[in-house]
Symmetry: C2
Subunit: 498 residues, 2 copies
Amino acid sequence: MKLKIQYIDIDLDVLIISSKDASKLEILASSIIKLTSGEKNLSGRVIKTSQVVIPGVIGIPSSMTGIFAPDEIVDVVSIHSPENKRIIDKFLKSNMSLSEEEIKSLVTGISNDSLTPIQTTAFMLYHHFKQVDIKEVEMLAKSFADSGNRITWKSPAYDKHSIGGVPGNKVSLLIVPILAAAGLLTPKTSTKAITSASGTVDTMGVLAEVDFTPDEVMEIANKTKGIIISGEKLGIAPTIDKVITNAGYPLGLDPPSLILAGVISKKIAMGIDFMVLDIPVGKGTKFVESDGRVFGRTFVDLAHAVGISAKCGITYGDVPVGHTIGPALEAREGLSTLIDPSSGPNSLIEKSTSLAGLVIELAGIANRGQGQSVADDILRSGKAYKKMKEIIEAQGGDPNIKPDDIELGSYTMDIVAPANGWVIEIKNRALTQIARASGAPEHPGAGIHLLTKKESVKKGELVARIYAHSEHALEEVRAQVAKLQPIVIEGLLLGTIS
Amino acid sequence: MKLKIQYIDIDLDVLIISSKDASKLEILASSIIKLTSGEKNLSGRVIKTSQVVIPGVIGIPSSMTGIFAPDEIVDVVSIHSPENKRIIDKFLKSNMSLSEEEIKSLVTGISNDSLTPIQTTAFMLYHHFKQVDIKEVEMLAKSFADSGNRITWKSPAYDKHSIGGVPGNKVSLLIVPILAAAGLLTPKTSTKAITSASGTVDTMGVLAEVDFTPDEVMEIANKTKGIIISGEKLGIAPTIDKVITNAGYPLGLDPPSLILAGVISKKIAMGIDFMVLDIPVGKGTKFVESDGRVFGRTFVDLAHAVGISAKCGITYGDVPVGHTIGPALEAREGLSTLIDPSSGPNSLIEKSTSLAGLVIELAGIANRGQGQSVADDILRSGKAYKKMKEIIEAQGGDPNIKPDDIELGSYTMDIVAPANGWVIEIKNRALTQIARASGAPEHPGAGIHLLTKKESVKKGELVARIYAHSEHALEEVRAQVAKLQPIVIEGLLLGTIS
């Protein structure tokens, strides 16, 4: 369709078309259109109006002045792809498997916004309602990997990845330096917390920079062997993040096939050869144990199919790892444990060394069953802390930072035991919600310090301290604590009979 | 959150908020927010920006000047309902049935846009992937009915409704006057064609007005007994239309539970007491015969549950009804058949009188099996035509209009038989697509006239004539005809062996 350019004083990055022309072009809500005139072209999200422009005219924000002349006639097409409409039809209605080309087309469509939000949501729900189809997930993972930057290494690259769900899971802060100290190239990427209180990136962000270009990452990793950085800014498999942000998060959905495709695609893009996947199971995690095992089996098969040698560790996820939740608190705890492992919490050390041990076994440095003791030796010898200092420095942080240097939120609330008794339940989801209410991860100093975990307590004893970034956040924390009862203490007297 | 009003020169009906404030308010894409200051309030769709307004400020289009003072501080809340998020969670993740209150809350959310398009899509896909739950559909239908205007009558009201899928299905143009002539109050509402080439409203729109207020409808119907009007402007059960427009149509989905809830809700809102549902089955329709029968059984049960006495007619839908597709062509054919039934196509007369007969039996005017002959008598006696003239006049049309007065598109293309043979297939979907390419239903004169249906033809004989509204549309028609081969003619010589 030929339309005439009209510049419009609107500070929005959209193209404006009359409803009449929009219906002729079969434009749906938030389609992408492409304007062409000779060699010049411009694509963008379109909005319909029956007021701002008349039929025959296409409105462009004044900020885009210079691309076309005012009143210039341009050719307008909707790049809302009919091919993708057909593909979505195929999987929604006929329930037929998609070909590699079709999957690529959808991923490209999500990537360049030519898939509408409604179509992306359909894609998400299809995966939610259907069984995992391994072949389809493999093709999906490859397409996601191809949608962004890819990094290749001269030597084999190792990785440990944790499926979310357990608060306080700061194990990467120990595992990466252990593996790097063992001589294994470990380029660990992670994402910021979306629903949790602190992602590895948020925690590491307290100690060093986490955003680097692919070239910087290769330079640092080739020197230190280990890095702990954000994958987002690095541009690896960005399309899966888009699916999750646009459709998964708003609906609170995280279908297994997309978790699988997401993890594998990031590892392909990062050039990972060997990896261990940590699958926490239990209350408040993504899986019950039996489902976690099935997921792990599928993951290993998939990894092999794309040339990654993988193992899964099913881990206990009923309670937080270590005693802290929130970026600064977790960075403190991770750093303390590296400096003086004998003072660190058992759960953190045990989990970190066992997962690191599995990677060490994959690398052939230790025999099966011997990896954990190698990892433990590296941690307790101080080599892991030394390596962490190198990594922090290479990532632009202060290598000599001490745990106490790390600032915490200045508004606090204490939870004390109401009676003598035992801590019989620590609710993961409630703790995450409260830590987020306190301001984590946006405010690094916010979070929860658990002073005890599943132990007997005396009346009045401090069970947890919550750090918030403002009085207002603290008020919200108080309300949430009262409502969610995150720590359940059962009195010694369990009941009376009379 | 407290924000300061800033008027902005944007001709769009949106409220503009900084991305920072948006994330604090947990605003998702296209959420609704509500601004309040004392007694004054304003709700609207919100867009996020990192450019147009700074944090602490809420931008309002200048067109809304007068509601708040510039720089006035208002309280801003997201009315993206957390309750609805919980309900969607419940049906997506736990697959649990919803309560009446929960269904009402969702329908209200769709109605006032506090459900995001993504959530509405999830609602659509839930129904697409799940089995029909009769109790849930019943509650849904009642909620949809409550979401708009409701009409009540002093005497019992009758209706015939056809499930879409068959092109040329102009039976309402005969059935309504037949029933009204039989003394039955028949307030027939319909919708404009969305995916078909002509809805009853589009066809009737050629002969008379179709948009009336509830009061006008009651006045007309109490006089003529029959009306054939649009339900859209009447505001009956508008929320189901919104679901279909916003999520069903973009994805090409039409789940049985929403078809059921949609039809029943419109009938509840229109105060219908007795109805016949026409379920066409076969190629290119919504159902194969066995599914159509199951759907019909469910429909009857549902109708009874909401107090409507219903029957279903399973009808043959492999080929178009009558010989014409498109508003003007269908209006011509319907009118001709009313004026001189002996000249009308058998398929149209047979289908119309059999469905009208079922309604007549429901009304107790004829015994079981006798209804069709009563309907046929009314049609052939000329009483139906006389009634149709009354209806056309009451709806503001010319009662003396003759079929030839109705204008057709002036650009035509003929399809002729390439050889002696038989018409062995007439493809419903292809015909609909070609009729739409010709300009129907937007351009009433556009459409297809089938000169023959399943008969033997001679080489060069005219098989169909297509009317388009422009040379450009005709070009598109030519391309579609070549690609879709809508009419398959098999030669007398079926093959040779040598």
